[in-house]
Amino acid sequence: MQLVMPDLNPVIPEILLTVLALILLMADLVIKRKETIAFLSIVSVAGVAYTLIGSAGTTFGGMFVSDGYSTFFKLIFLVNVILTILISVRYIVVENINFGEYYGLILFSTLGMMIMASAGDLIVLYLGLELMALSTYVLAGFIRHNVKSNEAALKYFLLGAFSSAFLLYGMSMIYGLTGTTDLKAIATYISKNGLEGNKTLLLSMILFAVAFGFKIAAVPFHMWAPDAYEGAPTTITAFMSVGPKAAGFAVLGRVFMTAFGAIHVEWSVVLIPLAILSMCIGNVVAIAQTNIKRMLAYSSIAHAGYALLGVIAANNEGLASMMNYMLIYAFMNIGAFGIVILLRSEGFKGEDITDYEGLAKTHPLSAALMLIFMFSLTGIPPTAGFIGKLYVFMSAINAGYTWLVVIAVIFSVISAYFYLRIVMYMYMREPKVEVSLSTSPAIGLALTVTVVATLVIGVFPSVLVELARAAISRF
Protein backbone atom coordinates (compact mmCIF):
# COMPACT_ATOMS: atom_id res chain seq x y z
CA MET A 1 0.00 0.00 0.00
CA GLN A 2 1.53 3.26 -1.10
CA LEU A 3 0.85 6.61 0.46
CA VAL A 4 -0.98 8.57 -2.21
CA MET A 5 -1.22 12.29 -1.70
CA PRO A 6 -4.94 13.00 -1.34
CA ASP A 7 -6.57 15.85 -3.19
CA LEU A 8 -6.42 18.68 -0.67
CA ASN A 9 -8.43 21.23 -2.64
CA PRO A 10 -11.84 20.47 -1.02
CA VAL A 11 -10.35 20.67 2.49
CA ILE A 12 -8.54 23.99 2.04
CA PRO A 13 -11.07 26.02 4.08
CA GLU A 14 -10.72 23.62 7.03
CA ILE A 15 -6.92 23.50 6.81
CA LEU A 16 -6.76 27.28 6.61
CA LEU A 17 -9.05 27.68 9.61
CA THR A 18 -6.95 25.22 11.65
CA VAL A 19 -3.70 26.99 10.79
CA LEU A 20 -5.12 30.44 11.49
CA ALA A 21 -6.67 29.33 14.78
CA LEU A 22 -3.30 27.88 15.85
CA ILE A 23 -1.51 31.10 14.86
CA LEU A 24 -4.05 33.14 16.83
CA LEU A 25 -3.49 30.94 19.89
CA MET A 26 0.23 31.63 19.66
CA ALA A 27 -0.30 35.32 18.93
CA ASP A 28 -2.24 35.55 22.18
CA LEU A 29 1.11 35.26 23.99
CA VAL A 30 2.49 38.47 22.52
CA ILE A 31 -0.64 40.50 21.81
CA LYS A 32 -1.85 42.09 25.01
CA ARG A 33 -4.85 43.90 23.54
CA LYS A 34 -7.45 41.14 23.07
CA GLU A 35 -9.47 43.36 20.73
CA THR A 36 -6.67 42.88 18.20
CA ILE A 37 -7.14 39.11 18.41
CA ALA A 38 -10.87 39.54 17.86
CA PHE A 39 -10.14 41.65 14.78
CA LEU A 40 -7.60 39.12 13.46
CA SER A 41 -10.11 36.30 14.04
CA ILE A 42 -12.70 38.08 11.92
CA VAL A 43 -10.15 38.67 9.16
CA SER A 44 -9.20 34.96 9.33
CA VAL A 45 -12.80 33.82 9.10
CA ALA A 46 -13.36 36.16 6.15
CA GLY A 47 -10.34 34.57 4.47
CA VAL A 48 -11.74 31.11 5.11
CA ALA A 49 -15.09 32.20 3.67
CA TYR A 50 -13.26 33.34 0.52
CA THR A 51 -11.62 29.91 0.07
CA LEU A 52 -15.04 28.24 0.22
CA ILE A 53 -15.48 29.36 -3.40
CA GLY A 54 -14.16 26.64 -5.63
CA SER A 55 -13.63 24.11 -2.85
CA ALA A 56 -16.16 21.68 -4.32
CA GLY A 57 -15.12 18.07 -4.55
CA THR A 58 -14.81 14.79 -2.70
CA THR A 59 -11.57 13.62 -1.17
CA PHE A 60 -9.94 11.17 1.28
CA GLY A 61 -11.79 8.27 -0.33
CA GLY A 62 -15.22 9.86 0.09
CA MET A 63 -14.69 10.71 3.76
CA PHE A 64 -14.82 14.42 3.10
CA VAL A 65 -17.50 15.83 0.82
CA SER A 66 -17.54 19.48 -0.14
CA ASP A 67 -20.75 20.15 -2.07
CA GLY A 68 -23.36 22.87 -2.28
CA TYR A 69 -25.14 21.54 0.80
CA SER A 70 -22.03 21.62 3.00
CA THR A 71 -20.91 24.98 1.62
CA PHE A 72 -24.25 26.57 2.47
CA PHE A 73 -24.00 25.29 6.04
CA LYS A 74 -20.38 26.46 6.29
CA LEU A 75 -21.63 29.89 5.28
CA ILE A 76 -24.07 29.78 8.22
CA PHE A 77 -21.26 28.75 10.60
CA LEU A 78 -18.97 31.52 9.38
CA VAL A 79 -21.73 34.15 9.65
CA ASN A 80 -22.41 32.81 13.14
CA VAL A 81 -18.77 33.00 14.23
CA ILE A 82 -18.23 36.51 12.85
CA LEU A 83 -21.36 37.86 14.53
CA THR A 84 -20.47 36.10 17.79
CA ILE A 85 -16.99 37.62 17.83
CA LEU A 86 -18.45 41.07 17.14
CA ILE A 87 -20.86 40.87 20.06
CA SER A 88 -18.16 39.36 22.32
CA VAL A 89 -15.52 42.08 22.20
CA ARG A 90 -17.08 44.31 24.84
CA TYR A 91 -19.02 41.61 26.69
CA ILE A 92 -16.05 39.49 27.73
CA VAL A 93 -14.44 42.61 29.22
CA VAL A 94 -17.59 43.30 31.24
CA GLU A 95 -17.71 39.67 32.40
CA ASN A 96 -14.00 39.79 33.26
CA ILE A 97 -13.15 36.79 31.07
CA ASN A 98 -11.02 38.61 28.53
CA PHE A 99 -8.77 35.68 27.57
CA GLY A 100 -7.36 35.17 24.08
CA GLU A 101 -8.24 31.45 24.13
CA TYR A 102 -11.89 32.48 23.92
CA TYR A 103 -11.50 33.29 20.23
CA GLY A 104 -9.35 30.23 19.59
CA LEU A 105 -11.98 27.92 21.05
CA ILE A 106 -14.77 29.60 19.04
CA LEU A 107 -12.76 29.02 15.87
CA PHE A 108 -12.06 25.37 16.75
CA SER A 109 -15.73 24.82 17.48
CA THR A 110 -16.56 26.27 14.07
CA LEU A 111 -13.95 23.97 12.52
CA GLY A 112 -15.77 21.02 14.10
CA MET A 113 -19.07 22.20 12.62
CA MET A 114 -17.52 22.56 9.17
CA ILE A 115 -16.12 19.02 9.36
CA MET A 116 -19.56 17.75 10.41
CA ALA A 117 -21.26 19.45 7.48
CA SER A 118 -18.77 17.87 5.08
CA ALA A 119 -18.63 14.41 6.65
CA GLY A 120 -19.14 11.63 4.12
CA ASP A 121 -18.16 9.00 6.67
CA LEU A 122 -19.54 8.24 10.12
CA ILE A 123 -16.12 8.39 11.79
CA VAL A 124 -15.43 11.87 10.43
CA LEU A 125 -18.93 12.92 11.46
CA TYR A 126 -18.36 11.74 15.01
CA LEU A 127 -14.97 13.41 15.33
CA GLY A 128 -16.28 16.69 13.94
CA LEU A 129 -19.14 16.53 16.41
CA GLU A 130 -16.79 15.92 19.34
CA LEU A 131 -14.49 18.75 18.24
CA MET A 132 -17.44 21.13 18.09
CA ALA A 133 -18.92 19.91 21.36
CA LEU A 134 -15.69 19.84 23.37
CA SER A 135 -14.88 23.44 22.48
CA THR A 136 -18.43 24.51 23.28
CA TYR A 137 -18.42 22.77 26.69
CA VAL A 138 -15.36 24.78 27.69
CA LEU A 139 -16.85 27.99 26.32
CA ALA A 140 -20.09 27.43 28.27
CA GLY A 141 -18.06 27.25 31.48
CA PHE A 142 -15.84 30.16 30.53
CA ILE A 143 -16.95 32.38 33.45
CA ARG A 144 -15.12 30.18 35.93
CA HIS A 145 -15.92 32.32 38.97
CA ASN A 146 -19.66 31.98 38.32
CA VAL A 147 -21.48 28.91 39.68
CA LYS A 148 -24.19 29.13 37.01
CA SER A 149 -21.63 29.04 34.24
CA ASN A 150 -20.01 25.97 35.83
CA GLU A 151 -23.42 24.33 36.04
CA ALA A 152 -24.10 25.13 32.39
CA ALA A 153 -20.82 23.58 31.28
CA LEU A 154 -21.27 20.48 33.41
CA LYS A 155 -24.86 19.82 32.32
CA TYR A 156 -24.00 20.42 28.69
CA PHE A 157 -20.99 18.14 29.00
CA LEU A 158 -22.77 15.26 30.74
CA LEU A 159 -25.75 15.23 28.39
CA GLY A 160 -23.47 15.75 25.40
CA ALA A 161 -21.42 12.71 26.42
CA PHE A 162 -24.68 10.81 26.91
CA SER A 163 -25.83 11.67 23.39
CA SER A 164 -22.42 10.71 21.95
CA ALA A 165 -22.91 7.25 23.46
CA PHE A 166 -26.24 6.92 21.61
CA LEU A 167 -24.59 8.04 18.39
CA LEU A 168 -21.75 5.51 18.75
CA TYR A 169 -24.22 2.73 19.54
CA GLY A 170 -26.17 3.54 16.41
CA MET A 171 -22.97 3.64 14.35
CA SER A 172 -21.75 0.30 15.69
CA MET A 173 -25.05 -1.33 14.71
CA ILE A 174 -25.04 0.04 11.21
CA TYR A 175 -21.40 -0.97 10.83
CA GLY A 176 -22.22 -4.50 11.92
CA LEU A 177 -25.08 -4.58 9.46
CA THR A 178 -23.36 -3.14 6.40
CA GLY A 179 -19.64 -3.52 7.10
CA THR A 180 -18.90 0.10 6.17
CA THR A 181 -19.00 3.57 7.66
CA ASP A 182 -19.25 5.41 4.36
CA LEU A 183 -22.66 7.07 4.05
CA LYS A 184 -23.11 6.38 0.33
CA ALA A 185 -21.85 2.79 0.65
CA ILE A 186 -24.30 2.19 3.51
CA ALA A 187 -27.19 3.36 1.29
CA THR A 188 -26.03 1.18 -1.61
CA TYR A 189 -25.61 -1.88 0.59
CA ILE A 190 -29.04 -1.45 2.17
CA SER A 191 -30.88 -1.19 -1.14
CA LYS A 192 -28.82 -3.98 -2.77
CA ASN A 193 -29.45 -6.47 0.02
CA GLY A 194 -33.04 -5.49 0.74
CA LEU A 195 -32.40 -4.54 4.36
CA GLU A 196 -35.09 -1.82 4.41
CA GLY A 197 -37.28 -3.53 7.00
CA ASN A 198 -34.43 -4.80 9.17
CA LYS A 199 -35.04 -4.13 12.86
CA THR A 200 -31.39 -3.45 13.60
CA LEU A 201 -31.41 -0.78 10.93
CA LEU A 202 -34.51 0.75 12.48
CA LEU A 203 -32.99 0.83 15.95
CA SER A 204 -29.80 2.30 14.57
CA MET A 205 -31.81 5.05 12.87
CA ILE A 206 -33.68 5.76 16.12
CA LEU A 207 -30.41 6.03 18.04
CA PHE A 208 -29.11 8.49 15.43
CA ALA A 209 -32.32 10.51 15.80
CA VAL A 210 -31.84 10.58 19.59
CA ALA A 211 -28.23 11.73 19.32
CA PHE A 212 -29.01 14.45 16.77
CA GLY A 213 -32.09 15.37 18.80
CA PHE A 214 -29.77 16.25 21.68
CA LYS A 215 -27.62 18.43 19.43
CA ILE A 216 -30.52 20.37 17.93
CA ALA A 217 -32.23 20.51 21.36
CA ALA A 218 -35.49 18.89 20.26
CA VAL A 219 -37.97 17.76 22.92
CA PRO A 220 -37.67 15.28 24.73
CA PHE A 221 -33.86 15.66 24.46
CA HIS A 222 -33.86 19.33 25.38
CA MET A 223 -33.42 19.12 29.16
CA TRP A 224 -29.90 20.52 29.09
CA ALA A 225 -30.77 23.53 26.93
CA PRO A 226 -32.46 25.97 29.35
CA ASP A 227 -29.83 25.56 32.09
CA ALA A 228 -26.90 25.57 29.67
CA TYR A 229 -28.25 28.61 27.82
CA GLU A 230 -28.96 30.52 31.02
CA GLY A 231 -25.62 29.87 32.72
CA ALA A 232 -23.27 30.18 29.75
CA PRO A 233 -21.82 33.60 28.83
CA THR A 234 -24.55 35.30 26.77
CA THR A 235 -22.34 35.52 23.68
CA ILE A 236 -21.76 31.77 23.87
CA THR A 237 -25.48 31.20 24.33
CA ALA A 238 -26.01 33.06 21.06
CA PHE A 239 -23.19 31.07 19.46
CA MET A 240 -24.45 27.66 20.56
CA SER A 241 -28.10 28.33 19.88
CA VAL A 242 -27.17 28.81 16.22
CA GLY A 243 -23.95 26.94 15.39
CA PRO A 244 -24.27 23.50 16.98
CA LYS A 245 -27.97 23.50 16.13
CA ALA A 246 -27.30 24.21 12.46
CA ALA A 247 -24.51 21.61 12.48
CA GLY A 248 -26.92 19.12 14.03
CA PHE A 249 -29.40 19.82 11.23
CA ALA A 250 -26.64 19.51 8.63
CA VAL A 251 -25.71 15.98 9.74
CA LEU A 252 -29.35 15.05 10.33
CA GLY A 253 -30.17 16.01 6.74
CA ARG A 254 -27.14 14.30 5.24
CA VAL A 255 -27.24 11.05 7.23
CA PHE A 256 -30.99 10.59 6.98
CA MET A 257 -31.26 11.55 3.32
CA THR A 258 -28.18 9.60 2.23
CA ALA A 259 -27.60 6.59 4.49
CA PHE A 260 -31.19 6.11 5.63
CA GLY A 261 -32.78 7.34 2.39
CA ALA A 262 -34.43 3.95 1.87
CA ILE A 263 -36.39 4.14 5.12
CA HIS A 264 -37.52 7.77 4.95
CA VAL A 265 -41.11 6.83 5.79
CA GLU A 266 -39.91 5.24 9.03
CA TRP A 267 -37.73 8.15 10.07
CA SER A 268 -40.44 10.66 9.28
CA VAL A 269 -42.61 8.76 11.77
CA VAL A 270 -39.82 9.13 14.37
CA LEU A 271 -39.17 12.82 13.66
CA ILE A 272 -42.81 13.98 13.58
CA PRO A 273 -43.40 13.50 17.35
CA LEU A 274 -40.06 15.25 18.01
CA ALA A 275 -41.18 18.23 15.92
CA ILE A 276 -44.65 18.46 17.51
CA LEU A 277 -43.29 18.11 21.06
CA SER A 278 -40.54 20.68 20.41
CA MET A 279 -43.02 23.24 19.12
CA CYS A 280 -45.44 22.50 21.96
CA ILE A 281 -43.08 22.40 24.97
CA GLY A 282 -40.80 25.10 23.57
CA ASN A 283 -43.55 27.65 22.99
CA VAL A 284 -45.73 26.86 25.98
CA VAL A 285 -42.97 26.72 28.60
CA ALA A 286 -41.39 29.89 27.20
CA ILE A 287 -44.50 31.79 28.33
CA ALA A 288 -43.70 31.06 31.98
CA GLN A 289 -40.09 32.29 31.87
CA THR A 290 -38.96 35.46 33.64
CA ASN A 291 -35.33 35.29 32.53
CA ILE A 292 -34.84 36.37 28.93
CA LYS A 293 -32.01 33.90 28.28
CA ARG A 294 -34.20 31.03 29.44
CA MET A 295 -37.06 32.37 27.34
CA LEU A 296 -34.83 32.49 24.27
CA ALA A 297 -33.64 28.95 25.11
CA TYR A 298 -37.21 27.63 24.95
CA SER A 299 -37.77 29.72 21.83
CA SER A 300 -34.71 28.03 20.33
CA ILE A 301 -36.21 24.62 21.13
CA ALA A 302 -39.43 25.67 19.37
CA HIS A 303 -37.50 26.87 16.31
CA ALA A 304 -35.79 23.47 16.10
CA GLY A 305 -39.31 22.07 15.87
CA TYR A 306 -40.23 24.33 12.92
CA ALA A 307 -36.99 23.55 11.09
CA LEU A 308 -37.58 19.82 11.59
CA LEU A 309 -40.66 20.15 9.35
CA GLY A 310 -38.27 20.78 6.45
CA VAL A 311 -36.41 17.55 7.18
CA ILE A 312 -39.64 15.59 7.64
CA ALA A 313 -40.67 16.62 4.12
CA ALA A 314 -37.74 14.37 3.05
CA ASN A 315 -37.07 16.02 -0.29
CA ASN A 316 -34.72 18.66 -1.67
CA GLU A 317 -37.31 21.40 -1.33
CA GLY A 318 -37.71 20.59 2.35
CA LEU A 319 -33.96 20.54 2.98
CA ALA A 320 -33.54 23.86 1.15
CA SER A 321 -36.24 25.44 3.31
CA MET A 322 -34.55 24.04 6.45
CA MET A 323 -31.21 25.54 5.32
CA ASN A 324 -32.89 28.90 4.70
CA TYR A 325 -34.46 28.71 8.11
CA MET A 326 -31.15 28.10 9.86
CA LEU A 327 -29.48 31.07 8.13
CA ILE A 328 -32.40 33.38 8.92
CA TYR A 329 -32.47 32.09 12.49
CA ALA A 330 -28.75 32.89 12.80
CA PHE A 331 -29.37 36.55 11.98
CA MET A 332 -32.48 37.16 14.04
CA ASN A 333 -31.40 35.14 17.07
CA ILE A 334 -27.91 36.63 17.34
CA GLY A 335 -29.53 40.03 16.89
CA ALA A 336 -31.87 39.39 19.83
CA PHE A 337 -28.97 38.16 21.97
CA GLY A 338 -27.02 41.24 20.90
CA ILE A 339 -29.63 43.42 22.61
CA VAL A 340 -29.52 41.19 25.72
CA ILE A 341 -25.74 41.72 25.77
CA LEU A 342 -26.16 45.49 25.36
CA LEU A 343 -28.13 45.59 28.60
CA ARG A 344 -25.41 43.76 30.52
CA SER A 345 -23.07 46.22 32.19
CA GLU A 346 -20.83 46.17 35.26
CA GLY A 347 -22.98 45.34 38.27
CA PHE A 348 -26.18 44.94 36.23
CA LYS A 349 -27.23 41.62 34.74
CA GLY A 350 -30.10 42.83 32.55
CA GLU A 351 -31.44 39.30 32.12
CA ASP A 352 -34.87 39.73 33.67
CA ILE A 353 -37.74 40.36 31.31
CA THR A 354 -38.85 43.23 33.58
CA ASP A 355 -35.52 44.98 32.89
CA TYR A 356 -36.96 45.77 29.44
CA GLU A 357 -39.80 47.86 30.88
CA GLY A 358 -39.82 51.31 29.34
CA LEU A 359 -36.73 50.67 27.23
CA ALA A 360 -38.33 52.60 24.36
CA LYS A 361 -38.29 55.78 26.47
CA THR A 362 -34.70 55.50 27.68
CA HIS A 363 -33.05 53.83 24.69
CA PRO A 364 -35.41 54.11 21.68
CA LEU A 365 -32.98 52.72 19.11
CA SER A 366 -32.24 49.52 21.03
CA ALA A 367 -35.94 49.06 21.69
CA ALA A 368 -36.71 49.46 17.98
CA LEU A 369 -34.09 46.85 17.07
CA MET A 370 -35.44 44.44 19.68
CA LEU A 371 -38.91 45.04 18.25
CA ILE A 372 -37.74 43.95 14.80
CA PHE A 373 -35.99 40.83 16.15
CA MET A 374 -39.03 39.85 18.23
CA PHE A 375 -41.32 40.35 15.21
CA SER A 376 -38.97 38.23 13.16
CA LEU A 377 -38.78 35.44 15.77
CA THR A 378 -42.58 35.43 15.88
CA GLY A 379 -42.72 35.29 12.10
CA ILE A 380 -44.52 38.53 11.29
CA PRO A 381 -44.03 39.99 7.78
CA PRO A 382 -42.06 41.80 6.42
CA THR A 383 -39.27 40.23 8.46
CA ALA A 384 -37.02 37.30 7.58
CA GLY A 385 -38.61 35.08 10.22
CA PHE A 386 -41.85 35.12 8.22
CA ILE A 387 -40.06 34.02 5.05
CA GLY A 388 -38.27 31.21 6.89
CA LYS A 389 -41.49 29.84 8.33
CA LEU A 390 -43.38 30.33 5.07
CA TYR A 391 -40.97 28.17 3.04
CA VAL A 392 -40.69 25.47 5.71
CA PHE A 393 -44.47 25.26 5.98
CA MET A 394 -44.90 25.28 2.19
CA SER A 395 -42.46 22.42 1.74
CA ALA A 396 -44.23 20.42 4.45
CA ILE A 397 -47.62 21.04 2.79
CA ASN A 398 -46.25 20.03 -0.61
CA ALA A 399 -44.98 16.81 0.97
CA GLY A 400 -48.49 16.10 2.26
CA TYR A 401 -48.18 17.11 5.91
CA THR A 402 -50.91 19.76 6.00
CA TRP A 403 -52.12 18.69 9.46
CA LEU A 404 -48.59 19.10 10.83
CA VAL A 405 -48.40 22.63 9.43
CA VAL A 406 -51.74 23.47 11.04
CA ILE A 407 -50.27 22.43 14.41
CA ALA A 408 -47.12 24.45 13.70
CA VAL A 409 -49.15 27.56 12.88
CA ILE A 410 -51.18 27.21 16.10
CA PHE A 411 -48.02 27.03 18.20
CA SER A 412 -46.57 29.87 16.19
CA VAL A 413 -49.53 32.00 17.24
CA ILE A 414 -48.97 31.01 20.87
CA SER A 415 -45.33 32.09 20.54
CA ALA A 416 -46.49 35.60 19.68
CA TYR A 417 -47.56 35.98 23.31
CA PHE A 418 -44.12 35.78 24.86
CA TYR A 419 -42.21 37.51 22.04
CA LEU A 420 -44.62 40.42 21.88
CA ARG A 421 -44.75 40.65 25.68
CA ILE A 422 -41.18 41.96 25.49
CA VAL A 423 -42.32 44.54 22.93
CA MET A 424 -45.26 45.48 25.15
CA TYR A 425 -42.94 45.92 28.16
CA MET A 426 -40.60 48.11 26.14
CA TYR A 427 -43.23 50.38 24.64
CA MET A 428 -46.14 50.46 27.08
CA ARG A 429 -44.56 50.44 30.52
CA GLU A 430 -42.69 53.08 32.45
CA PRO A 431 -39.00 52.44 33.10
CA LYS A 432 -38.41 51.08 36.63
CA VAL A 433 -34.69 50.43 36.71
CA GLU A 434 -31.82 52.55 35.45
CA VAL A 435 -30.44 50.76 32.38
CA SER A 436 -27.10 51.81 30.92
CA LEU A 437 -26.01 50.18 27.69
CA SER A 438 -22.50 48.84 27.21
CA THR A 439 -22.10 49.80 23.59
CA SER A 440 -19.08 49.41 21.34
CA PRO A 441 -18.49 49.86 17.61
CA ALA A 442 -18.25 46.08 17.19
CA ILE A 443 -21.64 45.27 18.65
CA GLY A 444 -23.08 48.24 16.72
CA LEU A 445 -21.79 46.66 13.52
CA ALA A 446 -23.18 43.25 14.50
CA LEU A 447 -26.62 44.72 15.21
CA THR A 448 -26.58 46.69 11.97
CA VAL A 449 -25.72 43.56 9.97
CA THR A 450 -28.36 41.43 11.69
CA VAL A 451 -31.14 43.99 11.43
CA VAL A 452 -30.37 44.77 7.79
CA ALA A 453 -30.25 41.04 6.97
CA THR A 454 -33.51 40.42 8.84
CA LEU A 455 -35.29 43.16 6.92
CA VAL A 456 -33.70 42.63 3.50
CA ILE A 457 -34.36 38.87 3.51
CA GLY A 458 -37.89 39.67 4.63
CA VAL A 459 -38.50 42.05 1.72
CA PHE A 460 -36.40 40.38 -1.00
CA PRO A 461 -36.40 36.68 -0.13
CA SER A 462 -35.80 35.40 -3.66
CA VAL A 463 -31.99 35.78 -3.54
CA LEU A 464 -31.63 33.58 -0.48
CA VAL A 465 -34.23 31.07 -1.63
CA GLU A 466 -32.49 30.70 -5.00
CA LEU A 467 -29.13 30.32 -3.23
CA ALA A 468 -30.41 27.48 -1.07
CA ARG A 469 -32.09 25.79 -4.08
CA ALA A 470 -28.87 26.03 -6.08
CA ALA A 471 -26.91 24.67 -3.13
CA ILE A 472 -29.17 21.68 -2.63
CA SER A 473 -29.08 20.80 -6.32
CA ARG A 474 -25.38 20.01 -5.88
CA PHE A 475 -26.07 17.67 -2.95
Binding site: L3, L127, S135, V138, G176, G179, K199
Partner: protein
Protein backbone atom coordinates in the same frame (compact mmCIF):
# COMPACT_ATOMS: atom_id res chain seq x y z
CA UNK B 1 -15.85 -24.65 22.04
CA UNK B 2 -12.97 -23.38 24.13
CA UNK B 3 -12.90 -19.87 22.60
CA UNK B 4 -16.64 -19.61 23.19
CA UNK B 5 -16.14 -20.60 26.82
CA UNK B 6 -13.44 -17.98 27.25
CA UNK B 7 -15.57 -15.31 25.58
CA UNK B 8 -18.52 -16.31 27.74
CA UNK B 9 -16.48 -15.87 30.89
CA UNK B 10 -15.08 -12.47 29.88
CA UNK B 11 -18.43 -11.15 28.62
CA UNK B 12 -20.22 -12.18 31.81
CA UNK B 13 -17.40 -10.79 33.95
CA UNK B 14 -17.50 -7.46 32.09
CA UNK B 15 -21.23 -7.07 32.70
CA UNK B 16 -20.86 -8.01 36.37
CA UNK B 17 -17.89 -5.70 36.89
CA UNK B 18 -19.69 -2.80 35.18
CA UNK B 19 -22.59 -3.24 37.58
CA UNK B 20 -20.17 -3.31 40.50
CA UNK B 21 -18.53 -0.09 39.26
CA UNK B 22 -21.76 1.89 39.28
CA UNK B 23 -23.27 0.48 42.46
CA UNK B 24 -20.42 0.88 45.00
CA UNK B 25 -20.93 3.49 47.70
CA UNK B 26 -17.24 4.15 48.00
CA UNK B 27 -15.86 5.83 44.88
CA UNK B 28 -12.39 4.35 45.44
CA UNK B 29 -13.89 0.87 45.30
CA UNK B 30 -15.66 1.81 42.05
CA UNK B 31 -12.39 2.85 40.48
CA UNK B 32 -10.68 -0.35 41.57
CA UNK B 33 -13.46 -2.48 40.10
CA UNK B 34 -13.07 -0.43 36.93
CA UNK B 35 -9.39 -1.37 36.86
CA UNK B 36 -10.40 -5.02 36.85
CA UNK B 37 -13.00 -4.25 34.17
CA UNK B 38 -10.34 -2.72 31.90
CA UNK B 39 -8.18 -5.84 32.29
CA UNK B 40 -11.06 -7.99 31.12
CA UNK B 41 -11.72 -5.72 28.13
CA UNK B 42 -8.03 -5.99 27.25
CA UNK B 43 -8.40 -9.75 27.23
CA UNK B 44 -11.27 -9.45 24.73
CA UNK B 45 -9.01 -7.49 22.38
CA UNK B 46 -6.47 -10.30 22.68
CA UNK B 47 -9.11 -12.75 21.46
CA UNK B 48 -9.64 -10.58 18.41
CA UNK B 49 -5.93 -10.89 17.55
CA UNK B 50 -5.41 -7.22 18.40
CA UNK B 51 -2.42 -7.40 20.69
CA UNK B 52 -1.47 -3.76 20.10
CA UNK B 53 -4.88 -2.60 21.28
CA UNK B 54 -4.52 -4.85 24.32
CA UNK B 55 -1.26 -3.16 25.19
CA UNK B 56 -2.77 0.29 24.65
CA UNK B 57 -5.77 -0.62 26.78
CA UNK B 58 -3.53 -1.79 29.62
CA UNK B 59 -0.92 0.95 29.48
CA UNK B 60 -3.09 3.97 28.76
CA UNK B 61 -6.48 3.13 30.26
CA UNK B 62 -5.57 0.88 33.17
CA UNK B 63 -2.14 2.39 33.73
CA UNK B 64 -2.41 6.11 33.15
CA UNK B 65 -6.06 7.11 33.24
CA UNK B 66 -7.21 5.12 36.22
CA UNK B 67 -4.37 6.51 38.32
CA UNK B 68 -5.67 9.98 37.46
CA UNK B 69 -9.20 8.87 38.38
CA UNK B 70 -7.92 7.68 41.73
CA UNK B 71 -6.11 10.95 42.34
CA UNK B 72 -9.24 12.96 41.59
CA UNK B 73 -11.48 10.74 43.70
CA UNK B 74 -9.08 11.00 46.63
CA UNK B 75 -8.68 14.77 46.23
CA UNK B 76 -12.44 15.30 46.19
CA UNK B 77 -13.04 13.31 49.40
CA UNK B 78 -16.53 12.26 48.33
CA UNK B 79 -17.64 10.85 51.71
CA UNK B 80 -20.20 13.60 52.32
CA UNK B 81 -21.83 13.53 48.91
CA UNK B 82 -22.33 9.86 48.28
CA UNK B 83 -25.59 9.49 50.23
CA UNK B 84 -27.25 12.69 48.98
CA UNK B 85 -30.76 11.70 47.97
CA UNK B 86 -30.83 13.60 44.72
CA UNK B 87 -27.97 11.45 43.42
CA UNK B 88 -29.43 8.11 44.45
CA UNK B 89 -33.21 8.52 44.55
CA UNK B 90 -33.76 8.06 40.84
CA UNK B 91 -32.25 4.63 40.43
CA UNK B 92 -35.60 2.81 39.95
CA UNK B 93 -36.45 5.09 36.99
CA UNK B 94 -33.00 4.60 35.56
CA UNK B 95 -33.35 0.84 35.95
CA UNK B 96 -36.69 0.82 34.10
CA UNK B 97 -35.26 2.85 31.23
CA UNK B 98 -32.14 0.69 31.06
CA UNK B 99 -34.21 -2.51 30.98
CA UNK B 100 -36.50 -1.07 28.30
CA UNK B 101 -33.46 -0.18 26.20
CA UNK B 102 -31.99 -3.64 26.77
CA UNK B 103 -35.28 -5.16 25.63
CA UNK B 104 -35.39 -3.00 22.47
CA UNK B 105 -31.79 -3.83 21.64
CA UNK B 106 -32.40 -7.51 22.41
CA UNK B 107 -35.29 -7.69 19.96
CA UNK B 108 -33.68 -5.76 17.14
CA UNK B 109 -30.21 -7.27 17.34
CA UNK B 110 -31.71 -10.71 16.74
CA UNK B 111 -32.60 -9.47 13.28
CA UNK B 112 -29.03 -8.51 12.45
CA UNK B 113 -27.51 -9.78 9.23
CA UNK B 114 -23.76 -9.47 9.60
CA UNK B 115 -22.35 -7.35 6.82
CA UNK B 116 -19.35 -8.20 4.66
CA UNK B 117 -16.00 -8.36 6.40
CA UNK B 118 -13.21 -6.15 5.13
CA UNK B 119 -9.90 -7.05 3.58
CA UNK B 120 -8.05 -7.31 6.87
CA UNK B 121 -8.81 -10.90 7.81
CA UNK B 122 -7.01 -12.60 10.69
CA UNK B 123 -4.58 -14.29 8.28
CA UNK B 124 -3.63 -11.05 6.55
CA UNK B 125 -3.14 -9.30 9.88
CA UNK B 126 -1.06 -12.17 11.26
CA UNK B 127 1.13 -12.23 8.20
CA UNK B 128 1.95 -8.53 8.17
CA UNK B 129 1.86 -7.89 11.92
CA UNK B 130 -0.93 -6.20 13.76
CA UNK B 131 0.83 -2.94 14.63
CA UNK B 132 2.21 -2.66 11.12
CA UNK B 133 -1.24 -2.96 9.53
CA UNK B 134 -2.80 -0.59 12.05
CA UNK B 135 -0.18 2.05 11.32
CA UNK B 136 -0.63 1.69 7.58
CA UNK B 137 -4.41 1.99 7.78
CA UNK B 138 -4.24 4.97 10.09
CA UNK B 139 -1.87 6.90 7.87
CA UNK B 140 -3.50 6.09 4.53
CA UNK B 141 -7.22 5.26 4.60
CA UNK B 142 -7.94 7.02 7.87
CA UNK B 143 -5.50 9.91 7.52
CA UNK B 144 -8.20 12.57 7.66
CA UNK B 145 -9.95 11.34 10.84
CA UNK B 146 -6.50 10.82 12.38
CA UNK B 147 -5.64 14.48 11.80
CA UNK B 148 -9.01 15.61 13.17
CA UNK B 149 -8.34 13.61 16.34
CA UNK B 150 -5.15 15.62 16.86
CA UNK B 151 -7.18 18.85 16.83
CA UNK B 152 -9.74 17.32 19.23
CA UNK B 153 -6.94 16.48 21.67
CA UNK B 154 -5.46 19.95 21.28
CA UNK B 155 -8.81 21.50 22.17
CA UNK B 156 -8.97 19.25 25.25
CA UNK B 157 -5.58 20.56 26.37
CA UNK B 158 -6.52 24.20 25.74
CA UNK B 159 -9.80 23.64 27.57
CA UNK B 160 -8.04 22.21 30.60
CA UNK B 161 -5.65 25.18 30.69
CA UNK B 162 -8.47 27.72 30.32
CA UNK B 163 -10.48 26.14 33.12
CA UNK B 164 -7.44 26.13 35.42
CA UNK B 165 -6.49 29.76 34.75
CA UNK B 166 -6.37 32.41 37.40
CA UNK B 167 -9.20 34.92 37.64
CA UNK B 168 -8.44 38.21 35.89
CA UNK B 169 -7.97 41.23 38.12
CA UNK B 170 -10.52 43.93 37.55
Amino acid sequence: MLPKLFFGYFAAAIVLLSILVITRRNAVHSVLWMLLLFFHIAALYLFLNAEFLTAVQLIIYAGAMLVLYLFVVMLLNLKKEEGVSRFVDFWPNALVIALALLFAIGISVRAIVIGPTGGYSVDVVKKAGHTDILGRVLYTEYLFPFEVVSVVLLVAIIGAIVLAKKKLKT
